[in-house]
Symmetry: C2
Subunit: 96 residues, 2 copies
Amino acid sequence: MIGIVAKLKVKPGSEAAFEAAFQELAAAVRKNEPGCKLYDLFRKAGEAGTYYVQEQYTDKASADAHMKSDHFRAAGAKLAPTLAAAPEIVNLEKVG
Amino acid sequence: MIGIVAKLKVKPGSEAAFEAAFQELAAAVRKNEPGCKLYDLFRKAGEAGTYYVQEQYTDKASADAHMKSDHFRAAGAKLAPTLAAAPEIVNLEKVG
């Protein structure tokens, strides 16, 4: 299993637009990506505008397919204007 | 839902001991904590000795109970000597 932890910083005032666009993406991921086993968005407690995503994919091919999917690219166009900085992505490999 | 992303740095040469102790803890968590919905250990790709944990709990009470559990305290005693630094814990609140 492949894991990803992504950290996203959102511009002040863009939180609602970011969350709406991200949840639309998450719904498309769950509907269209059988290899994606976890795709959950979180707010950092006590730090407005900072978000984390916990992701899990059955294998690298599924993780790569996610990044290349039409719904991911379409969401990127909506999300980009809400972000204060480039996302920080940590690539992981499950133990056991 | 409450989320946690934990980053752990392990001393060179202690990776196997760390992984064994952590997986023993994870088994106890899954067996004894119905409020814990995710407790998965990952290696950071391309960076030996750096680990991440993705955690989810149904509510704050369940997350607090995890930290106070006997199995968590017992595991801490085994894990502490394998760590190169204090764990970095990010507390999260699920969106939606």
